[in-house]
Amino acid sequence: MSTGQREPMSEAPAPPSVGSAASARARGLPSEASILMVLVGLALTFELLGWIFVGQSFLFNAQRLVVMILQVSVIGIIAVGVTQVIISGGIDLSSGSVVALTAMVAASLAQSSDAVRAVYPALIDLPLIVPLAAGLAVGALAGLLNGTLIAWTSIPPFIATLGVMVSARGIAKWYTRGQPVSMLTDSYADIGGGVVPVVIFLATALVFHVALRYTRYGKFTYAIGANAQAARVSGINVPRHLIVVYTIAGGLSGLAGIVTSARAVSGQSGMGMMYELDAIAAAVIGGASLSGGVGRITGTVIGTLILGVVTSGFTFLRIDAYYQEIVKGAIIVVAVIADQYRQRARSRRA
């Protein structure tokens, strides 16, 4: 194809700029800005209420801030995977159960010689890599199952992952007949110690932020979520890509399961209950659209922090946990309503 050799015509438009400062201003602030303001607003509200009712600062307390992020790190790791699934136009309900399953499997391979009745008496004091690899593999396998069901049978993601959610929880219970797995090695417990979970969360977020924005993997994920049929016509192998997306999400749930069991220094089949909903909430609060094609990891990180601020703020104010859940629910709904208004405003501005 040629680009030159045409007489310039009077109404020929100027070459489109690739995002000048002027056009960026015209488009307004990035969509994360509004959600970041919600985060700051909430934090400042708690700060103010703190001085009024508790007589101390909410924010200027390093320990509280660390605990706050620590509490939501596991949700954050899951949410990074769920965000990708949501961008691709799907949903993953299985994350919480996969957390439990991987926690059980990884813990059973991380038992120390102190364990009285080890799950595998012959397999104690294994090197750290074994439970880590096993946990990630189990999570990825669960995700692979999700992806394969969705891509090959074309059943809705909601149903496929609902099935895996129920079954994975069942397998987690069956694995030790409901018994918790305890007495884990020190090296395994270290994964959950200190700020390690926070580091894992932020590192995961960074990796997939880059993957979504700068790699072909990310471009295809957005394209499939925006219009799966057009993606197919554009030459993208949609089923194969969806399998990859769900496998990554499963692997991240597995990672979350490892962190959870390391923090608790035990594996329990009841772990990760409802985590999938918190993770979806974090993604949605952060601007991911359940109709697909829209969402960012930065938004999800902020969404996760909002959940953290609400939880720790209410604890700080010694308000009942019941109210905490009521408010959390309201925040999710308000976030989505606000997002819809924003989207409508954007498409009107034609």
Partner: protein
Amino acid sequence: MAGPAPAAPQCLLEVRHVSKAFPGVVALDDVSLSLKAGTVHALMGENGAGKSTLMKIIAGIYRPDEGELRLRGRALQLRSPMEALHNGIAMIHQELNLMPSMSVAENVWIGREPLNACGIIRHRELNARTQALLERLQIDLDPRTPVRALSVAARQMVEIAKALSRQSQLLIMDEPTSALTDKEAQHLFTVIRELTAQGTGVFYITHRMDELFEIADEVSVLRDGRHIATDRPDNLSRDAIIRMMVGRELARLFPCAPANPGPVALSARALNLPPKFHDVSFDLHAGEILGVAGLIGAGRSQLAEALFGLTPASSGQILIEGCEVRVDCPGAAMARGVALVTEDRKESGCFLGLSVLENLEISVLTREFVRLGFVRKGALTRACAAISHSLRVKTPDLHERMENLSGGNQQKVLLGRWLLMQPKILILDEPTRGVDVGAKAEIHELISRLVAQGAAVLMISSEMPEILGMSHRIMVMHEGRVTGILARAEADQVKIMNLAAR
């Protein structure tokens, strides 16, 4: 002929000076015609002649910009399809609107079920009433059968029963026989005659010339939104009707690329995908535009999709530059230098929520501008900006959301998406549908330029001027079969329509 028409048939519906414009096109321009009670009035015309728009106005789906409808002499203002139904006007759509999991009776009476005092549906009466209706139409169907289990013909009968149950006096049928066998069509005609004998008037859109002479009492021809003529079929010949359908002045809008055919780029040999198309064979040369003409439903888009691997043909061969290739997914076609711009921009073309840049870059990303999985953003963006500039895409910048662009500019972006790939074979399905005149000319010029540079273009179009103005050769399809391939010199509108309408 339909039933014993009374000596002076009463005028049922009168269309007076109706006009309707959509953004960019005038769909109807001062159309007047009338339907007499107890008769079948057929409407003929090319794709886009305005038949469907007119019928949708009568059915209350669209409102006319100008003009009025008069039902039995009284002015009629329709604000919704519901109001049309209340006035006894029912439309049977091409894509039938039935609920597959519900029974025939439930479908017929939906929203008007006979209830007992507690609000519970009286199923026995529901079924009995439906049975009575079906018997009146001499249709042999059990009212309790779920619609899912019925053939297309039987579903149509359910639609007709539904219309009858509302005492509809005016029935609109949009190509009712397109999915029917001959026998089923004959039965439909019997039912239609039954209805007209009872005084119902029928508007009947069709592309089949034979049906016209069999069922219609009157025929009106529309062309480019204008009413051309109305007459009794007996007074008209097949050729006369075709001439009225196509007899327009061809404006020389199109830059004619000089015919400079090179070697064969793409060949199809006996491609089959029942029931969509059968036994399709052709050669497409480099440096040539092969136009594909035909009426809607002729299987042209399905052929394009098969050539591109979206829905592979069930048998037959595809040869690219003389070598037989297996094209079972779009990726395989793209690897051979084949590109497809689909017919439905919104459905399978655009990512409306994404930016212009993201819409441009997506196809080329499957094979270029990527290193170790990372997108080479700078190079890719420059390439996209260059193509967008050369196609004169009107957008503030490449980050504009696709949905904020006009149809013509969206289409240019889609073309650009494939031009980035530098395809050898370009399949275009209705490349200028819903595109304003200026953008249309630019797209035509672009196609000509590509062909001059040696690309092979297969161009499906329902617009006769486009087909005749652009193509070097014209392949005509009718009901899934190739009915002829005409050289540009010998092709004219009448010949094409003769092959397309049979």
